[in-house]
């Protein structure tokens, strides 16, 4: 799939990064000090900063309610329909501010979100689901047909199920449909929310293999929100750990995998092997990166 032209970014000087992170032109996404409030009262993100380099898989890790999905929705701007609002900070795509754009505008620029829980169109067939992803392509029939073939190439299982109603397909097939549907919009960046949710471990592996494949062959950058820290850190290049709406730790996936705290709190192992929570020293148990 061809990518949007990566011409010179028309970046204004004042848009250079905050919080010590520069907006290197090689970054597709730069999120700087973003604060999100739901319903005008509930503060969910308390200044999140992260960046996604061109062509990378970046994992966003953390427990339930840490703010992973909210971060993705703040970028794709699906927040507004959930009565959420970005109240501070800025979001740059290729150095250009995008926090005021509608989700549709963002998809046109190449940033698309695959929502948590698949969200397939249950009464449409698998193929119709995929075609809805090409909505912004307008009536370019040839190109859409080619893209469809490409999606079937990555997800052969979808080709078999192309004429069944998506509502009746399995969870894995629905996840594939959701990712394939996003691909049909010819994205440069996919925001992937919990692709492992509710899937068998083997299927999770399969989905992540395809994600990696897409990243390598189609050069699609990925921002991946995951609870399954173990799998995510194996496939990602870089990781951020969110807790209570703040980034508490970030680093290369390899270094995060070796980090003692990550091991203990997210991977469920520690240097001394398994042990009872009761034996953990009081201060260790309380420790959070706050």
């Amino acid at each position: 799939m061809s990518m949007a032209s990566s011409g010179p970014t028309d970046r204004l000087p004042h848009q250079a990064g905050e919080a010590g992170r520069g907006t290197a032109p090689s970054n597709v996404l730069d999120v700087a000090n973003v604060e999100v409030i739901y319903n005008h009262v509930i503060l969910v993100l308390k200044g999140v900063s992260l960046s996604v380099p061109q062509g990378a898989i970046v994992a966003l890790l953390g427990a339930n309610g840490a703010g992973k999905s909210t971060t993705l929705k703040a970028i794709s701007n699906l927040l507004r329909t959930e009565r959420g609002e970005v109240t501070k900070g800025r979001i740059l795509y290729r150095g250009e501010r995008v926090d005021g754009l509608t989700p549709s505008d963002l998809v046109r620029r190449g940033v698309i979100q695959v929502m948590e829980g698949r969200h397939c169109f249950g009464h449409l067939t698998v193929e119709e689901n995929l075609l809805t992803g090409a909505f912004i392509q307008g009536g370019k029939r040839r190109q859409i047909a080619d893209d469809l073939e490409k999606v079937y190439h990555y997800f052969p299982r979808l080709k078999v199920r192309r004429s069944s109603q998506a509502g009746y397909t399995s969870g894995g097939e629905q996840q594939m449909t959701a990712i394939g549907r996003a691909l049909m919009s010819r994205p440069t960046t996919i925001l992937l929310d919990e692709p492992s949710m509710g899937l068998a471990p083997q299927l999770v592996e399969e989905i992540f293999e395809i994600v990696k494949n897409l990243n390598e062959r189609e050069k699609v950058s990925m921002l991946l929100a995951e609870q399954n820290t173990n799998v995510a850190l194996r496939y990602a290049h870089y990781g951020y750990i969110l807790e209570n709406g703040r980034v508490v730790l970030d680093g290369d996936a390899a270094s995060l995998r070796e980090n003692e705290d990550v091991k203990e709190f997210y991977l469920g192992v520690s240097g001394e092997g398994r042990r009872s929570f009761r034996d953990v020293k009081h201060y260790r148990r309380r420790k959070r990166w706050l």
């Binding site: 009565r83 549709s104 998809v107 969200h119 169109f121 075609l131």
Partner: protein, 332 residues
């Protein structure tokens, strides 16, 4: 036999008109999950715009066909304004609200649209002549003695409705916009996430529903004259929808036909049937019951008025999703 068929056909043709109104409801309900109470008001508005502009163009001595086409275009433009207003001023503000809240908003819109339309276009009864033949027609004279009486206008109405439905089916199943409309109907959030602009889609749906209202208003108006009671057609569409299912276009059509035929047949035949039954019972011993039934049968008129609602009530008890309503696909 000939008379029965005559009543049946008359009922079916009336049913087609119910279907037209019900169709407008189904379109909006499918695409936005809104039960649009204002559909009746939209029928009234469209019909008023049509009949008044036709009158005006007639006064300007335009040739009839030109006046007719212009009047239809004018009324369509009015419906586009209504659709735009509904999306811009109401729906956009209420994104992701409960269905009941949107429903109440459309009740408010009903009063506003009705009031505004009557202020702009007048509130009298206006006869509408679309140049369709209105003569009574006798068909199948070789089969039945004296033939079967049908109204030519009703036949035209059925033809127009058929074309409209065929057009809509193609639009929904075969086009990019139609597919997007169905996607929005299934899952707003997901449709938005793949880049389908909801505002644009809602405008299109309301516009299509407005055009259906225009057709319904034109046909009903040329039958009954354009008057305020057109907006009450919405109430007749409700049982049709309960019968056919809120989410099904074929359901709206078949529901309309069943209601139309059912109410005409019961109106004409139910009373006499009961009377006969009563008389038969009375002569065969069960005098008391026979007399009661006979009396009920003799006074039983106006079934037409409540028939549809009773059928709807029974359906709600037995099959609440209607004949063709979508079953909710649920998998764990």
């Amino acid at each position: 036999m000939g008379f029965f068929i005559e009543v049946l056909i008359g009922g079916l043709l009336a049913g087609v008109l119910y279907s037209l109104v019900a169709l407008g409801f189904v379109l909006i309900f499918k695409a936005s999950g809104v039960f649009n109470f204002a559909q009746g008001a939209m029928v009234l508005t469209a019909a008023l715009a049509l009949v008044r502009s036709l009158e005006l163009f007639g006064q300007w001595k335009w040739p009839f066909w030109l006046a007719l086409v212009s009047a239809f275009l004018f009324a369509a433009a009015i419906m586009a304004v209504v659709a735009w207003g509904a999306e811009r001023l109401v729906l956009r503000k209420l994104v992701n609200q409960e269905g009941i809240i949107l429903f109440m908003a459309t009740i408010g819109m009903t009063f506003f649209i009705e009031g505004l339309a009557q202020t702009l276009f007048g509130a009298d009864v206006y006869p509408l002549n679309l140049g369709l033949p209105k003569d009574p027609l006798f068909i199948l004279e070789s089969l039945f003695d004296g033939g079967i009486l049908v109204n030519e206008l009703d036949i035209w109405a059925a033809v127009i409705a058929g074309m409209l439905v065929a057009g809509l089916a193609v639009f929904f199943q075969r086009t990019r916009i139609g597919r997007a409309l169905r996607a929005v109907a299934d899952d707003h959030a997901a449709a938005q996430s793949v880049g389908i602009p909801l505002n644009q889609i809602w405008f299109i749906v309301w516009l299509v529903a407005g055009l259906v209202a225009l057709v319904a208003g034109a046909v009903w108006g040329s039958k009954l004259g354009v008057q305020f009671s057109l907006s009450l057609l919405a109430l007749k569409a409700l049982p049709v929808l309960i019968l056919g299912g809120f989410t099904s276009v074929p359901g709206a059509i078949i529901g309309g036909l069943i209601i139309g035929a059912g109410e005409k047949i019961s109106e004409v035949f139910a009373g006499p049937l009961l009377k006969d039954l009563g008389a038969w019972l009375a002569t065969n011993g069960a005098t008391g019951l026979g007399t009661v039934l006979g009396d009920v049968g003799a006074t039983l008129t106006g079934i037409e008025i409540w028939f549809a609602y009773v059928v709807a009530l029974l359906f709600l008890l037995v099959r609440p999703q209607g004949l063709f309503g979508e079953r909710i696909i649920e998998r764990v």
